[in-house]
């Protein structure tokens, strides 16, 4: 059974994504240990907490360096929601936070509509509805999926990220997560 290292930021709901991985036949460990993150066949950055505390936590444990190294090595990395946003260069959340810089672009406050943007939205070109819950969006040239004009999917090298929560998006979400894990 393939084991996925789910990156521990020290806050939030990581149970749901691990439960989704189990359904798909993947084992998982919750860790911020650099050697484990380097050795894991697959690493998943979950979508929990706030940008600043997540980056501080990753910096303090040495995970930032390892995640950048994995990306350069072409080792698979999946990001969900905040976990996708952390891959960008800069996040405006919490007064401004430097991201992992794997993907060009900036994470900005959603400019219009009801914020947080909560609920199910269609994603092009996946042609399915997925569950979104966010107040910031990725402004990046690396977007490969869009929902209502907003970045929904980012693909760059061995990194694939989703703004929505595949683990919370019913059967469509589970198939998408499975696809990400096999692609990554």
């Amino acid at each position: 059974m393939i084991s996925v290292a789910v990156v521990d930021y020290g806050a939030g709901n990581t149970r749901s994504v691990r439960s989704a991985l189990r359904r798909l036949g993947f084992d998982s460990t919750l860790t911020s240990d650099p050697s484990e993150l380097l050795a894991a066949p697959l690493v998943l950055l979950p979508g929990v907490g706030s940008a600043k505390s997540a980056m501080e936590h990753l910096g303090a444990t040495g995970a930032v360096t390892v995640l950048r190294q994995r990306f350069l090595d072409g080792a698979p990395l999946v990001g969900i929601c905040l976990g996708m946003q952390l891959a960008l260069e800069y996040l405006e959340e919490d007064g401004g936070v430097e991201g992992l810089g794997l993907v060009p672009g900036t994470v900005r406050r959603l400019p219009q509509g009801r914020v947080p943007r909560l609920g199910w939205q269609l994603v092009t070109p996946l042609d399915e509805a997925f569950y979104f819950a966010h107040s910031y969006y990725a402004d990046t040239p690396a977007a490969t999926g869009i929902s209502d004009g907003i970045t929904a999917v980012i693909e760059a090298g061995a990194f694939v990220g989703a703004q929505f929560h595949p683990e919370k998006s019913g059967t469509a979400g589970l198939s998408y997560l499975e696809q990400c894990l096999s692609r990554a």
């Binding site: 939030g12 149970r15 439960s19 189990r22 947080p116 609920g119 966010h134 019913g170």
Partner: protein, 250 residues
């Protein structure tokens, strides 16, 4: 725009789902994991679990239920009842809930809204308002406070709430439709989404609510006929409300 959401609400007491009419007269209707799974598979867009008999010494019961529900379903869910501190909220979220709902604790300590939002994001904080006669009520809608409904809704949003769960005490359990006027006035005042609650008796009521707001909380209309959620979705769609694409599992 997101698709309007249908949100079944499971009222819970002592680890079991119960049903309340105007917040009173409880009877046991079932196992939370079984019902949550049923609605998740039946086309619910989200779920709310409300512990209406929360007591501090039973909080571990609720955490076990939250974890079991999180493992069983594949849609988001909110948990409310008895959350009085950041630590309480953290325990619920770490057990697998996506969002917490604050009610009397937010009234007593409004800074709690901001503290939880800063740690987990605004989307993780729902402020539940039980509204009647223009004022906010506590104790399951039985005790009026001196806080006017609209200013409190505005303050909750300003303090960082990610959504308002607005229950009309007058309509709750009556099955005669939502309080559309109340819902529309709160929604016009805030820039966060608003869930209408209290009064769903048929598909027309639900459709009316979804014309004025983002989501509708439904309880007895689906609990008494759990097979009815896919049917309710179809009826609501036939009334011109476009719900998210969803395929019934056979």
């Amino acid at each position: 725009m997101s698709f309007p959401r249908l949100i079944p609400c499971l009222d819970m007491a002592h680890g079991r789902v119960v049903k309340g009419i105007s917040f009173e007269g409880l009877r046991d209707v079932g196992d939370p994991v079984e019902l949550a799974t049923h609605y998740s598979n039946g086309g619910a867009d989200e779920l709310v679990l409300l512990d209406i008999a929360a007591t501090p010494n039973e909080s571990t019961t609720m955490l076990d239920v939250v974890a079991a529900v999180a493992d069983a379903i594949t849609i988001p869910f909110t948990v409310g009842g008895g959350i009085r501190s950041v630590a309480d909220a953290a325990a619920i979220i770490e057990s697998g809930a996506d969002r917490v709902s604050l009610n009397s604790a937010a009234l007593a300590t409004p800074s709690l809204i901001t503290e939880i939002a800063e740690r987990f994001g605004a989307q993780a904080v729902v402020v539940a308002i039980d509204a009647g006669d223009g004022v906010v009520h506590t104790h399951g809608g039985r005790r009026p406070t001196d806080r006017a409904t609209l200013p409190w809704a505005h303050e909750a949003a300003e303090r960082g709430a990610g959504e308002i769960l607005l229950t009309s005490i007058r309509q709750d359990g009556q099955r005669t439709g939502f309080d559309l006027e109340l819902t529309a006035s709160v929604r016009a005042l805030v820039s966060i989404p608003v869930i209408a609650s209290g009064g769903a008796g048929n598909a027309s009521h639900v459709a009316e609510a979804l014309r004025v707001t983002d989501a509708a909380l439904i309880a007895s209309i689906v609990h008494e006929n759990p097979q009815g959620l896919p049917g309710l979705r179809r009826e609501v769609e036939a009334l011109g409300i476009k719900l998210r694409p969803w395929k019934e599992l056979v």
